[in-house]
């Protein structure tokens, strides 16, 4: 209803305008002129031809030119412009109508004349000759009026990969959109070029509205500029508008790029322009056409994670092809002065996702926070740029400080392997800085003393001028501690045992003699040996007898002076000594007695043999008696 109201209003307005033009204004009818221009005069079937009709006159012109019947062309109202001026009482105006004609067939055509009526008089243009050639490749005439409209609901493009010609070939559309990617399987952060194309054989009546596809899971960067070109698909010429983006997948797995949408108003082909005063004329001329919503199909991508094996330690997830440079903002600084270490990572890939390089241990520096910035350049089909990491350092010691070589690892998806770039060591000469004046913050030190001593200035005490060669308290070995804590109790036990032994020896003379029997015998034997060397046979045998009798008496617990040789032999016999041993001892007793009490010359050899025999006997008897 509303639409009909506006159309009626327009009709009335036009009618009134025509009536007004029938009335003389300030000028004569001869001042009106009408011109028509066609561009180009030669065109192929399906190409757009522009027709411009210009009406000029010293009058307030509002007339609409009357187009001839053009059955061999599709005609669209392209627009209208007017210019009106009133100078020195003279009215002049210019009206310009623009049409777009699309030839339906080849041949020679005559356009016009196009006429206009003003004050009952008709003004006409000269006829224009036009040549329309056939389509270059298997031209097939466009469908009947209304065919575009029918195809529109299904005007969806092939989503990707396939040549755009397929879409047109199969679906024979006048307008459609496609989205394609340059590869289906990529690594995380590997660039993918997403191309959106809008193919059109008919003009748009409004500014198209493009809705970019949903790229969740990707980092998207536009790749300007938008490109426009003509292309032929199955013999038809299409105008193509291309928009490109670079996508960087941020996660692995199956990711889907959503459909791209384009909304545009196009000519409604169901209506023809014949009668300027008919409903269809006004609808075509003034309406905004038919609204078409085009949508591409979604694209599924397979995104692989960066290999987990053989990952370098300094890998931070960066993918692409990168180079590295680093430098200090100065070569010389004082202690405490700020120095900036700039690490530049440049190359191709997602610049914004380039990870922070891991700096080596910076000995002698205080390291502050790192600030990053990036510069992105879009060239051809690549995203490239540089990521700069600036780290503030403060040298803390003098001398030449070195920053060890900095390395940076990234994954190269083309080579499918990790690569490492490296910059050599950097050096900074550090000079002594201002020595800070240290001020006590704790009032622990007194300023005056009770004895009237006034402290003028306080400072640390002076150096030690004598430095010993060895440290003052070397750690003592564990053996020292074991021995130190073990010997005193052992000594104590020994002392106690010695005391007990001493007491027993004092309390028990027989025990004491038994204990000392061996030593007494040894002393006696030593005396005997000494006498033998002096050839003193009497003393020798006396000592020998003392050794034998003394030892045996002590062992037997008998008195040395009280015991007889016979008693000794009897005791030995009782204690199980062999008869031969007893006999030998008896013989030796006799020998000693004889030598002592009947002195005679004795050979040294005989004395030595007796001494040896005495030792042997004492040894054997000692074993028997100690049992």
């Amino acid at each position: 209803m509303r639409h009909l109201f506006w159309e009626s209003l327009l009709k009335i307005s036009i009618g009134l305008a025509v009536l007004l033009f029938n009335q003389p204004l300030l000028t004569s009818a001869q001042d009106i002129s009408i011109k028509a221009v066609v561009k180009p005069k030669q065109a192929s079937v399906g190409r757009h031809i522009q027709l411009v009709v210009a009406i000029e006159g010293k009058a307030n012109l509002r007339n609409v030119p009357q187009l001839p019947d053009l059955p061999d062309f599709q005609v669209y109202g392209g627009g209208r412009s007017s210019n009106f001026s009133f100078i020195n009482g003279q009215v002049s105006s210019t009206l310009q109508f623009t049409y777009v004609m699309v030839p339906k067939r080849a041949g020679q055509f005559t356009l016009g004349p196009i006429s206009i009526e003003y004050k009952g008089k008709t003004y006409s243009t000269q006829p224009i000759q036009m040549t329309v050639t056939g389509a270059a490749q298997g031209f097939t005439p466009p469908g009947r009026p209304g065919s575009v409209q029918r195809s529109q609901p299904q005007a969806r493009s092939r989503p990707q990969a396939g040549p755009p010609g397929d879409a047109a070939q199969k679906e024979n559309k006048a307008i459609f959109v496609t989205t394609t990617v340059d590869r289906r399987s990529v690594y995380v952060n590997e660039p993918v070029i997403l191309t959106f194309r809008w193919y059109s054989r008919i003009p748009a009546l409004s500014q198209p509205q493009y809705t970019a596809p949903d790229t969740s899971g990707f980092w998207a960067e536009d790749l300007p500029p938008q490109r426009e070109y003509m292309t032929h698909i199955e013999g038809r010429e299409y105008k193509v508008i291309e928009i490109r983006q670079v996508l960087f997948p941020t996660t692995s797995g199956k990711l889907t790029i959503g459909p791209a949408e384009l909304t545009v108003h196009i000519q409604d082909f169901q209506r023809k322009i014949r009668d300027p005063f008919s409903d269809s004329f006004f609808r075509n001329f003034f309406s905004t056409g038919q609204r078409v919503n085009l949508q591409s199909k979604p694209i599924t991508m397979q995104v692989q994670p960066v290999p987990a094996t053989k990952r370098p330690r300094d890998f931070t997830g960066t993918v692409g092809k990168w180079s590295l440079s680093a430098g200090l903002d100065r070569t010389e600084a004082k202690v405490g002065e700020a120095v900036t270490l700039e690490v530049r990572i440049f190359g191709q890939g997602n610049v914004k996702s380039v990870g922070k390089p891991r700096l080596p241990p910076l000995t002698g520096f205080k390291v502050y926070e790192t600030i990053s910035s990036s510069e992105v350049q879009k060239k051809a089909d690549t995203i490239q740029g540089v990521k700069i990491y600036r780290t503030l350092l403060r040298p803390e010691v003098t001398g030449t400080l070195s920053i060890p070589p900095i390395t940076y690892s990234y994954f190269n998806p083309r080579r499918k392997k990790f690569e490492q770039v490296k910059v050599p060591s950097l050096h900074l000469k550090v000079l002594p800085g201002e020595v800070p004046t240290l001020v006590p913050v704790v009032g622990a030190l007194p300023q005056t003393t009770g004895a009237g001593v006034k402290i003028i200035a306080q400072d640390i005490r002076y150096l030690k001028t004598e430095i010993p060669l060895h440290p003052e308290a070397p750690p003592l070995p564990p053996l020292f501690w074991i021995a130190g804590f073990l010997f005193p109790p052992l000594g104590l036990l020994g002392f106690r045992a010695w005391q007990k032994q001493r007491d027993r020896l004092a309390a028990d003379p027989r025990y004491a003699r038994k204990i000392t029997a061996g030593r007494s015998a040894q002393r006696a034997l030593k005396q005997a040996s000494s006498a033998r060397l002096r050839h003193d046979a009497k003393e020798f045998y006396a000592a020998l007898a003392q050794a034998l009798i003394g030892y045996l008496a002590d062992e037997m617990g008998a008195s040395r002076s009280g015991i007889t040789q016979r008693e000794i032999l009897w005791q030995l016999h009782k204690r199980g000594a062999k008869e031969q041993l007893i006999t030998e001892l008896s013989e030796l007793f006799d020998e000693t007695d004889f030598a002592r009490f009947a002195p005679s010359e004795r050979e040294s050899a005989a004395m030595a043999a007796d001494e040896q025999k005495a030792i042997e006997l004492l040894t054997q008897l000692g074993r028997i008696l100690s049992k």
């Binding site: 150096l463 030690k464 430095i467 308290a473």
Partner: protein
Amino acid sequence: MKRVFFLLIVIVNMTSWSRAQEVQGVFEQKAEEARIAYDQGEYTQALKKYLELKKQGLESSQLYYNLGNTEFKYGHIGKAIAYYRQAQKRAPGDADIQYNLKYARSMVPRPEDKTGVLTKLFQALMQRFSGQTLALLALVTYIIFCSSIAMFIWQRGKGFFWRWTGSIIGVVFLLLATWACLRIVKERNVRWGVIVVNQAEARNGPGEENQVGFTVPEGREVLVLGYEKEWKAIGLAQEGYKGWVRSSEIWEDE
């Protein structure tokens, strides 16, 4: 043969003695050069010379004391305290070391000390002697104690003097042994370090990715509680804080 052996011993002793004299001469020369540099305010040179001595294996309280003085004059209060601590560890009774350490500590902001007098006395007493010195003292009293028992035994349990002397020395030995054990356990298990950079950032975990929890001033003595790669866990006993600092920002006691 005996004469040859004797001569050999004499020659070896003379050689080692002359070698020791030579080394002592080199050390003294270097120490003197360091002292001159120190006097002239060339603290970098002085530090270099002293560190060369340390690198050559000379580790004494005097050297650490001088290193502490040089770092102090250089304005590195943290490193100065760290060196003084090393010197005090080797010579706990040295008055110069105690004074300079106290003076250097007075430069470092620290919370109000709420420790009681008795605790302070106990802590001072604990730090007065090294674990080894205490252990040696304990050993001496132990030997005296055992000797007292021996004398008591010698007098057949009738000596009044040795009974009481032994008892008192036994108690002293037990106290010294306990003290020595505590000191040694503390020396071995409780690690101390000194912050050597200005306002070290203590993070909530070992790594740059962790948030900074608090900052510690240079020269603050902290407990070292743990290790993780290039990071050390520190504890501020008085405040009850714990955090992680870079290993290069703290000098741990050797």
